[in-house]
């Protein structure tokens, strides 16, 4: 039951901290012969699978490497275009590595501000009196937990759906934030948190939350 990552968003919707705790491996390498059974397309300057799921390769996966060489965007590092390579029968057999695209820092900043507005809309569209924004967002593969503190900071934890004790963990993260980010004389509020002590204590809090939930699920 892993905790995947932690985000901290300031009052204006800016991402001020992000950490990946557990990165699940989702990479598949396979050797193909001509012609390729998958349909690929360019999306967001990446080569993405748009049709044809097989052998663990899913729609939405991007090409991460060809014949062991890493791919940057739509090109190999030496400048060869990925789609041209795949269209040329002379290059076959070809080993292609697929995986979920890694989020860039810019994308993370965008997603954070997107969540900021979703939180506000969730509050506005409430059919019940006095509602907060989104606190728990559930999908079949992960759960997003959000705590908005009184000062307007949002703490977000992405965890496995079965991970327990995330509410307590969010409070603990707030405590760590108050102790090690806010009390740091070199930290100005609403700015990105770059502080070793905060990193270390946050990691310790996440690890103890994971251990605790392993322990309680072992009892049941």
């Amino acid at each position: 039951m892993p905790i995947y990552s932690v985000y901290v968003i300031n009052r204006a919707g800016g991402l001020i901290y992000q950490m990946d705790h557990t990165q699940p491996k989702t990479e598949v390498e396979k050797t193909f012969s001509f012609p390729l059974e998958l349909t690929l397309k360019i999306y967001d300057e990446r080569v993405v699978v748009s049709f044809g799921q097989r052998d663990g390769i899913k729609v939405g996966h991007t090409i991460l490497g060809i014949n062991g060489e890493p791919v940057r965007g739509r090109q190999l590092e030496d400048g060869r275009d990925v789609l041209e390579m795949i269209a040329n029968p002379d290059n076959y057999p070809i080993a292609i590595k697929f995986g979920r695209p890694k989020l860039s820092t810019n994308e993370r900043i965008m997603l954070a501000s997107m969540f900021h507005s979703l939180y506000a809309i969730g509050c506005q569209l409430s059919p019940a009196q006095k509602s907060s924004g989104i606190q728990v967002l559930e999908t079949d593969s992960f759960k997003l937990h959000c705590l908005q503190t009184l000062s307007g900071i949002k703490l977000i934890v992405l965890a496995d759906p079965k991970q327990g004790g995330v509410e307590a963990l969010l409070r603990k993260i707030y405590e760590v934030y108050s102790d090690f980010a806010l009390k740091n004389p070199f930290y100005s509020i609403d700015m990105p948190i770059r502080c070793q002590l905060f990193d270390d204590n946050l990691k310790a809090a996440l690890e103890s939350a994971e251990r605790l939930s392993m322990y309680t699920s072992g009892i049941n």
Partner: protein
């Protein structure tokens, strides 16, 4: 436990059907604007979730909770979207939303030659069937 309201959207974002049962609060906007905002929120959550997900997933977004209500979401393969708001103490209602789709929507809207695709539903039969089904659900108890 209570059910607040239900929205049905088609794949283009047209609100086909809306009904409320025990809604307490109305946003300060016209109903049309509210439908647009709701559809936009669902659309954004879907894209947010698919990019944020650390692992591969099948159905994606299923529900979210705030401090006072829970929004349940169910999407069919044809892009129809069912959004139901309930109180917090209701568990997963995936099967109920699937029932509304397969036994009420398909039977009384899709199989009705007079109902046009992509337009708001005005079949009285559909409305009565849906209303009696929702009122018969175990977690539908009107709180006054």
């Amino acid at each position: 436990m209570t059910i607040y309201n239900l929205y049905i959207f088609d794949r283009n974002g047209v609100c086909l059907f809306y009904q409320e049962w025990t809604r307490e609060k109305h946003p300060g906007m016209s109903q049309e604007e509210e439908f647009k905002l709701m559809y936009g929120m669902i659309f954004s959550i879907k894209s947010f979730v698919s990019r944020m997900a650390p692992v591969d997933f099948k159905d994606g977004f299923s529900s979210f909770c705030t401090s006072s209500y829970k929004l349940h979401f169910h999407e069919t393969a044809s892009g129809l979207k069912f959004v139901m708001n309930t109180s917090l103490n209701v568990g997963s209602i995936h099967d109920e939303l699937q029932h509304i789709y397969s036994a009420i929507f398909v039977e009384h809207v899709v199989r009705n030659p007079l109902s046009k695709l992509g337009q708001a539903i005005d079949s009285q039969l559909f409305k009565t069937k849906l209303d009696s089904y929702v009122r018969g659900l175990p977690f539908f108890t009107k709180v006054n």
